[in-house]
Amino acid sequence: MSELRSDSRPDSVLEDPGALAVSTMYAQSYMTAAVSAGSTAPEEELNSLIDDVLAKFPEFRDLLMSDLIGRDQKLVILDRVITPQCSEFFANFLRVLINHGRISLLPMIRSVLVKLQEQAAGKQRIRVRSARPLSGSARAKIVDHLKSTFGFEPILQETVDASLLGGVVLQVGDTVYDSSLRSRLKQLKGRLVEKAFNEIQSGRDRFSHPEGD
């Protein structure tokens, strides 16, 4: 499964939301254009370009994505190196990206495309955080439950976070369902403190004058 971030980036570093919005636009257009161009698997060529060419020849990637090289020069390079080996539709897509100065978004467009295709197939990614690695049965249970509740095929992205102490935290889109032991203990603490507060207050009220002092 392709990840949004490459391994060299720390987890905390996020993508620019503006770039993500632009990439989504390109990915959607690419998918729609692929249908009208009769391309059945538009992601194949894209994956191959990124994994087989750009990943293996980082100098070529840098050349293509560098701002030092002009658009016209990039187009010439594209025509010499890539166009003879790919479909005319994909070559056109790359030309548009180069012309618009968006070629550096290629990896992000790929990851968005994967997500869009998953969505079209009725799947959605769910982030699951748990204190310990999930057992097979627990995983199946979570998948079943999500399927029956939300009506889509969940793709679990599991992470282990020992600070949760126990339980799981599910994130669907921007919404988090938190049933971890850590947050339950926090709730319990809040409730005990509140109860103590009320006790103190009622103790005070007993001694104070009803009409104020």
């Binding site: 921007d174 709730q187 319990l188």
Partner: protein
Amino acid sequence: MKFKADEIASVIQKEIEDFRGQIQTAEVGRVIEVGDGIARCTGLSNVMSGEMLEFPGGTRGFAFNLEENSVGVVILGNYLKIAEGDEVRSTGKLLSVPVGEALLGRMVDPLGNPLDGKGPVLTSETRPVEWLAAGVAERQPVKEPLQTGIKAIDAMTPVGRGQRELIIGDRKTGKTAIAIDTILNQKDTGVICVYVACGQRASSIAGVMEVLRQNGALDYTIVVAATSSDPAPMQYIGPYAGAAMAEYFMYKGKHTLIVYDDLSKQAVAYRQLSLLMRRPPGREAFPGDVFYCHSRLLERAVKLNKELGGGSMTALPIIETLEGEVSAYIPTNVISITDGQIYLEPDLFWKGIRPAINVGVSVSRVGGNAQTKAMKKVAGSLRLDLAAFRELEAFAQLGTELDKDTQAQLDRGYRMVEILKQRQFGPLHVADQVVAIYAGTKGYFDKVPVAKVAETEAQLHEFIRTEHADFRDKLVAEAALTDEIERMLKKALEAFVARLAVKS
């Protein structure tokens, strides 16, 4: 009494056994960038404008800018602990502060956290910081007086309950002193006071606290403090938080007084936030909605109608000007929002006329409706008389020969100016004010040397309080200068003048 450890343990055990935690559902996002008290976050797709958000470690913030791809969050607290990639949780609640009786006598920050070391604020009630001001139908005209205890104000620029009266002037002209005197004068009147210090030095806030404590005013006062060392968001929400605390009492039918000290610093804090959030700057680099920032705050000062309990919130916003420049952006804005202004001048202040109120420029648009009948009667022509006196005084400085009548008018003017002087932290009851102003305008002080007027006035109050207590009680009770009371007053004043003549 001995604590029973077992009992406590069993109570807690039972509490834990009965505890059924619920799954917490929350909208989350992630911090993309953070700095200078603000954070930009992704996610949070359903967050509301002004919604309270929680960062890891419990630091709170609120959604300030809702943009296409990100949310601009204002951080209320230490932003140095927040890092890129941190999770932000929405709480589903608008920014709220604790309210209630428990806050009286306390000093809290704009989020309601105690700053005075007297333990937690024991209240379970909260109120949103931003609250829509009462509509037209929910109000009634301002007609009850709110006595400031300062002769010059109560006589010439009276403040009514539910009015917004601006106190404006350069630095060191006694703006805060007027507000504090007004708070001190609310003792035993049932008026709840809120003093919002916004961008003030911590030492001066401590000074105000001490004055309030010494004069027994803390029992009915809440101090909301956002010092100049607090982050800009705290200074920005301070006035709104104070207004929310006062509104709690107002909607319970009580009268409240709120002092915003001062709004020019709040505007500066708001400018900082807006510029950091990349909102476009306008005049003096303030954002376009800085007028709305103040107008929505000051509109919350109202006199509620009877169905809503008839409570009121009187606002005394303070604005600091630079070199007497009232035509700067923020002063003109706030002047146009409020129902009048008390204008303080450094020249008067250094001449020894304190409070240094410029009578000519100070106005109260609610005016005479908010005065007791007695005060209205004695102070009716005071403002015009003083204006005439100023004109004459300027004329007399040219060294012109003056006729007897003009000289007499001048002499009385000098004495009136002396009578309107008042020491700090010495608010006077309105009945005493009426006596002093009546005595001054009717010429009972004409024989007293100008330098001795203040001393003689103090003697007069003492004399009335000890020897004519029945008259004073009557004046206090009726608050009007009926023929009978006026006769009693004249008699008392004549007796006083006679005694003065004997002494000298």
